[in-house]
Every structure is written in structure tokens, then in C-alpha cells.
């Protein structure tokens, strides 16, 4: 149990998917402009990453490894993740319209997000067990949501600040992102 808790903590903070591994930067810069959209995107990504990790684990261990096809990993992972997300979108639209209203616009956006594919590939590379894969995926997604929310909150404050004209808009956001990444480097000192 402790091992899983530590894994969760280390994926969410120490090996944060956005600020340490630099995956999923497009939603990080693009969507994290307001807390609402950041939270929606974060929840949708959490959902998709966890699901994608489970689906790709099955694919890896039941098809790719037995038939010695590990070189088809990226191709088949993209295929399975995209199909899974499409399927989930249909089911959610039918069974939970309110959830669809909240997550619906973000689901197609993250079908082929690099964070989703990256986390799935990492778990496959490190040949983790099923439960471990799930925790790893969920932890990474939690870290993603946390960073999205932090960044959105900071940018909402930043929108009110007086910024030199040359830095207004995207440049100051990039500086802010780099400062956040520096802050997250501090977690690298945590040794479990």
C-alpha cells in the first residue's frame, strides 16, 4: 500500500508530467487561462489517461509482447487510445449529458495529446504490473490537473498586473511557466 502511495506522490510531484517531463504543453499554455476551463481539462485528462493506461496495458501484454511486436507500440497505442476516447465520449453523451456538458469539448482535444500517449508509453517501457500502471497513470494525471490549476490561477492574477508592453501576453506566460518548472525542480530532492 505504501509503495502505491509513494508511486502516486512521485508521479504527481517529483516526476510531474508537465513541468518535469515537459509533456502536454499545448493544453498547459492554451487552455490554462481560466480556472473553470483548466479544471474541466484536468478532469477530462485524468479520466482519459487512467483509461488509456488500462487499455494499453492490456494491448501490450495480450497482443504485442506474446507476438513479439513491441516495435508497433506507438502506432497501436494511438489507435487504441483514440478509439477508446471516442467510445467513452459516445457513452458519456448518452448516459450522462451533464458530465458531457462539462467534459465534452475537451475529450476530442486530448485524444492524441502527447501527455496521454507519453504516460502510456512510459508505463509500457518500464514493464509495470496492471495495478502499478493504473496508479502511475492516475498520479501523472493528478499532477497534470494540479499544475493546470496552479498555472490558471497565476495567469488570472497576471491578467490584472501591469506587464511591460514587450512582455505582454504569451512571453510573460512562458516566463511564469519556467519559474513554475524551477519550483517543481525542488521536489527532485525528495528521496523515497
Amino acid at each position: 500500500m505504501t509503495a502505491y502511495l509513494l508511486l502516486l506522490l512521485s508521479t504527481a510531484l517529483v516526476n510531474n508530467v508537465v513541468l518535469v517531463k515537459f509533456l502536454g504543453l499545448c493544453p498547459f499554455m492554451g487552455v490554462a487561462k481560466s480556472m473553470d476551463s483548466a479544471l474541466g481539462m484536468g478532469l477530462a485528462t485524468t479520466f482519459v489517461i487512467t483509461l488509456a493506461c488500462a487499455a494499453t496495458w492490456m494491448l501490450e501484454h495480450w497482443l504485442l509482447l506474446p507476438f513479439d511486436l513491441a516495435y508497433l507500440r506507438i502506432l497501436s497505442f494511438i489507435l487504441v487510445i483514440a478509439a477508446t476516447v471516442q467510445f467513452v465520449e459516445m457513452v458519456v453523451k448518452k448516459s450522462a449529458p451533464t458530465l458531457y456538458q462539462a467534459l465534452g469539448i475537451y475529450l476530442p482535444l486530448i485524444t492524441t495529446n502527447c501527455a496521454v500517449l507519453g504516460v502510456a508509453l512510459l508505463t509500457a517501457q518500464e514493464s509495470m504490473g496492471f495495478a502499478q500502471t493504473l496508479v502511475y497513470g492516475f498520479g501523472s494525471a493528478l499532477g497534470f490537473t494540479l499544475v493546470m490549476l496552479m498555472f490558471a490561477g497565476l495567469r488570472e492574477r497576471l491578467a490584472l498586473a501591469r506587464v511591460p508592453a514587450a512582455f505582454a501576453g504569451a512571453p510573460v506566460s512562458f516566463i511564469l511557466a519556467s519559474l513554475l518548472a524551477l519550483a517543481f525542480m525542488g521536489f527532485a530532492g525528495l528521496n523515497f
Binding site: 507476438f67 489507435l79 487504441v80 467510445f87
Partner: protein
């Protein structure tokens, strides 16, 4: 090699089949009224009604949260058609109808900045940088998005000019309107 081709083909076909069946099984029926209202609208998503595009306004009109007169490019004709479809009576005095209008470019002050071409929802404005722009009459819906964008005020909405292709016989005046003139 053969195994790779085979497995990917089978995987792709199975996923495709699964998605196809799911699309049938989990199909969500949209409100048919919304689709009918949307079909009546200009469909250029110009945003003058304050909603994000024509589909959203159609949904708002169908649910009763927006008036049928909310679409400025649609004008009187659209308001009448919508009122007939929904079976409600409207006060047309609120709709200032100036007849169909389209955007025009004053060629002598157009500086060719291309700003109007970017906001046109129907791609009706023709022009390149530093070339005088022009409006394609058949494509312009008169939404007026380009008017505020022009830095030299060269864009204006004008009544649709009558050309040989557009001219029609005027409608005969009905008896009631003529009666006082006779007496």
C-alpha cells in the same frame, strides 16, 4: 512482418466495427425543432445575436430563452418565418427592416489592409495586401462584421443594388391600398 500486418488490420477493423456499432447503439436524438430552426437561419455564424454561432441561437429560440427577432442578418423575413414555425405572434415594429443590405467598399479610401477579409464569415470579401478589396455580392449576407474593422471607414452597408439579374416586376398594389386614392 505478416503477423504485424495481420494484427494491426484485425485491431483496426475490430475497433472500427466496435465504434460503428456504438455509434448506432448510443445515438443521441437531437431536438428536431432545433434542427429545423437552424435550417432557416443564415448559417454564417457571424455572432451578432450574442450567441456562439447559429446552432446556439437556434437552441435558445427553441427553448424560448431568445426572441425570434434576435438574428440581425435574418431581419424581418427570418423573424416572420420563425414565428410561423413556432406558432407565435410577434410585433414586427421592433424589427427595423431596411430591406436586404450588403457590404460595399469605397474604392477611393480602401488601403488594402485585409482586416475585413479576416472577419467575414462567408469569405465574401476579395482582396490581397495593398490591393483594393471588393465584395462578392452573391456571397455577402450583410452581417456587418466588417464595418467596425475598417480603419478608414471604407466599408458600409448599402441596400442591395438592383441589377439586370436581380430586377423583378414590382408587386401590383392591392385594392385596399388603392381605394382611398380613387375616392
Amino acid at each position: 512482418m505478416l503477423m504485424a500486418i495481420l494484427s494491426l488490420t484485425v485491431l483496426g477493423s475490430l475497433l472500427g466495427l466496435g465504434l460503428g456499432i456504438a455509434a448506432r447503439k448510443f445515438k443521441v436524438e437531437g431536438d428536431p425543432l432545433v434542427a429545423e430552426i437552424e435550417a432557416l437561419m443564415p448559417g454564417s455564424n457571424c455572432g451578432q445575436c450574442g450567441f456562439a454561432g447559429c446552432p446556439r441561437l437556434a437552441a435558445a429560440i427553441a427553448s424560448g430563452s431568445a426572441p425570434v427577432t434576435a438574428c440581425p442578418p435574418g431581419g424581418k423575413a427570418l423573424a416572420l418565418a420563425l414565428a410561423r414555425k413556432l406558432g407565435i405572434s410577434i410585433d414586427l415594429a421592433a424589427v427595423a427592416d431596411q430591406g436586404p443590405r450588403i457590404a460595399t467598399v469605397a474604392e477611393d479610401i480602401c488601403i488594402g489592409c485585409c482586416r475585413c477579409t479576416k472577419v467575414c464569415p462567408t469569405d465574401a470579401i476579395l482582396g490581397a495586401a495593398k490591393q483594393i478589396h471588393n465584395v462578392i455580392r452573391e456571397a455577402c449576407t450583410g452581417c456587418g462584421n466588417c464595418i467596425d474593422r475598417c480603419p478608414t471607414e471604407a466599408m458600409a452597408l448599402q441596400p442591395l443594388p438592383v441589377t439586370l439579374q436581380h430586377w423583378i416586376w414590382p408587386k401590383p398594389l392591392d385594392g385596399a391600398a388603392l381605394a382611398p386614392a380613387r375616392g
